[in-house]
């Protein structure tokens, strides 16, 4: 029952209003849960417990069912994404070139695990399966930037660059 690092949930009246509309629009349809979760993630960027409870209440299903669906599909995220999204490729080509070591280095640098977001909301880490740049393996993406032929010792510098842009130290 380990707790992950998650920044506190905040929402706006507009987001609440939007979610209510989505629920009302779908609630009579069979299999409404999946489309509602899709739209809820669009609205909030992720699916925290508060949003899942609202969905469960609105659709008359239990929270454990909502959570089951939300954790089944990898496209759903339970944690917010950072301002900078780091994505380490763990596809076959990258993996044999040591991508696991790259990921471990990123996790060490930011003090969070894959799937989590730093408390200041700046960075989130995910792993992905093949970005289609196998010739550059191992590959990591930060936002739209691609970093290829990486070695673990380069990670520190790359991330520091983004921290410097934000004008702070991590």
């Amino acid at each position: 029952m380990a707790e992950k690092t998650v920044p506190a949930f905040k929402d706006t009246p507009e987001q609440q209003q939007k979610l209510r509309e989505v629920i009302d629009k779908n609630k009579e349809l069979p299999g409404a849960l999946l489309p509602v979760l899709h739209e809820a993630q669009e609205i909030y960027g992720y699916l925290p417990i508060e949003v899942q409870q609202t969905v469960a209440d609105g659709l008359g299903v239990s929270l454990s069912e909502v959570y089951g669906v939300a954790t089944f599909y990898s496209r759903f995220s339970l944690t917010p994404k950072g301002k900078h999204r780091i994505s380490v490729c763990l596809g076959t080509a990258c993996y044999v070139k040591g991508a696991d070591k790259i990921l471990a280095e990123v996790e060490k640098k930011l003090g969070i695990k894959s799937g989590e977001c730093t408390a200041d909301g700046l960075f989130s880490i995910d792993s992905c399966r093949c970005v289609g740049a196998c010739g550059l393996a191992p590959v990591m993406m930060i936002d739209e930037d691609v970093y290829g032929k990486l070695t673990p010792d380069q990670v520190d510098k790359i991330i520091d660059k983004y921290i410097a842009e934000e004008g702070g130290s991590n």
């Binding site: 029952m1 239990s62 929270l63 454990s64 959570y67 954790t71």
Partner: protein, 582 residues
Amino acid sequence: METVHLKINNIPVEVPKGYTILQAAKEANIEIPTLCYLKDINCIGACRVCMVEAKNRRGLLAACVYPAEEGLEVFTNTPAVRKSRKTTLELLLSTHHKKCLSCVRSNNCELQRLAAEYGVDEDRFQSEKPIHEIDDLSPYIVRDNNKCIQCMRCVAACKEVQSVSVIGAIKRGFSVHVGSAFDKSLDDSPCVGCGQCVVSCPVGALTEKSQEDKVWDAIADPDKKVIFYTAPSIKATLGESFDLPIGTNVEGKMAAAIRRLGEDVTVFNMDFTADLTIIEEANELVERIKNGGTLPMFTSCCPGWVKFVEHYYPEFIPNLSTCKSPQAMFGAVLKGYYCEKNNLDPNKVFVVSVIPCTAKKFEVTRPQLRSEEAYDDVDVALTTRELARMIKRAGIQLTDLEDEDYDAPFNKATGGGAIFGATGGVLEAALRTAARTLDGDFKKIDFEEVRGPEAIRTVTYEVAGVKINVAVASGLANARKLLEKTKKGEADYQMVEIMACPGGCINGGGQPIRSDSVSNYVDYKALRSKALYDYDANAEYRCCEESPVIKMIYDEYFEAPGKEKAHKYLHTSYVERGKYYK
């Protein structure tokens, strides 16, 4: 009835249309193994252990979901079938923590039995075993997902039977596991504690939280006086743990066995506080009807049902009878009246209730059951299964014992108290007493209309010119239907009896676990209930107010139902709990 003809291993059978191959095979005296299928609860064709071959059908078929078709020729014991089942079992074992030696389900485990039948190599597939944290934070149920085979029976029992749905499948693929939303402990979830998940589990992934050791310690402690009492349904189910036929009444042997668990162990009859509940509850009902109190009045003896109302329907809390459950009343009577009368220190009296139920393990932790002097009314609530294990560990040959009586003064009780263990029983006992309160000449004893297997039963009785509408439901999904009807104003009941478990306490979450090769084919609930109704029919007293112990305790202590002392010791209050997490 429309039927279909098919052959099972060349044996012709005729079965009703709609039967599955699994059901049809049983007609030919062939049992096909199952792991995920559980009659009336789970039918998802997921575990693939029930695979069979059929002529002109490609591949193997899952017998639990494949319909028996006209002309189908099924083969249940071919080399391909045996190989498939064996491989399936070996794959299940590849991630299973095989701790059979220390598992409480050893010898009553469906996976273990099939593994032996199919001669599996338990280590054929070596793989990384996911390590799951054991959830033992709740006071009633322990989940060890390292033993889970993901049959989803518990999930179905929680959702379909109980409409509670606090557990589900989480994640996917190799990471999939069963648990509560956000991987919280069951203790933090709005679980009602009924334990239907435990009695549905084919393996040792779900068990009651065992408290046998605490009881052994108390028995060994020379400063403690240990008092047991056994709930109405235990006499009808304990025998199953000793290989007696389902529905064997072992009341006398049970009393004898408990007495032999240690020196100076006292054993009382909890049917007495079932009687006491009726006296208080019938009085409360008459008061509510006379004084315009909140109606319908709901029974409050089932702690799973009470917790369900507290979590999901708090607006109905005023409808719950304020009477404590028989378990809780007995604790209060023992640490109050009994200690006072016998000059005993309540802190040195160790009270053990034997109950059919995991929710009662939760109930004894309710702060309402703690006295002002900070002792618990009930120290330990033991399930039927735990009592059976204690008797076995003590080497007591239960089946060979001569019948003995319970200890005085709480030895005598009525048939009305005994039928508390079956759905409809509380209401029937209450009707017997309430009708006689309203009309001194009332004769009817058997209210057969409120018995039986239907999910929801409603009856109207007329007593002394008063019409009483009553309803009975067991299984919380059925209770939910009744509540919704009541909420919409579509029902006008005066008294409603709800038991969380389908069939009542005889099918409680703490009862002996029947393997699916029994529960899929035998109506064990009916057999267990019959034992209680037979007991009632032959009882010396049948109406709760006739019990000499009841007369004694009101004369000596409580004066009259609802009076000050009765109110202090025998009534309680409820809290709103919220339908999400703590």
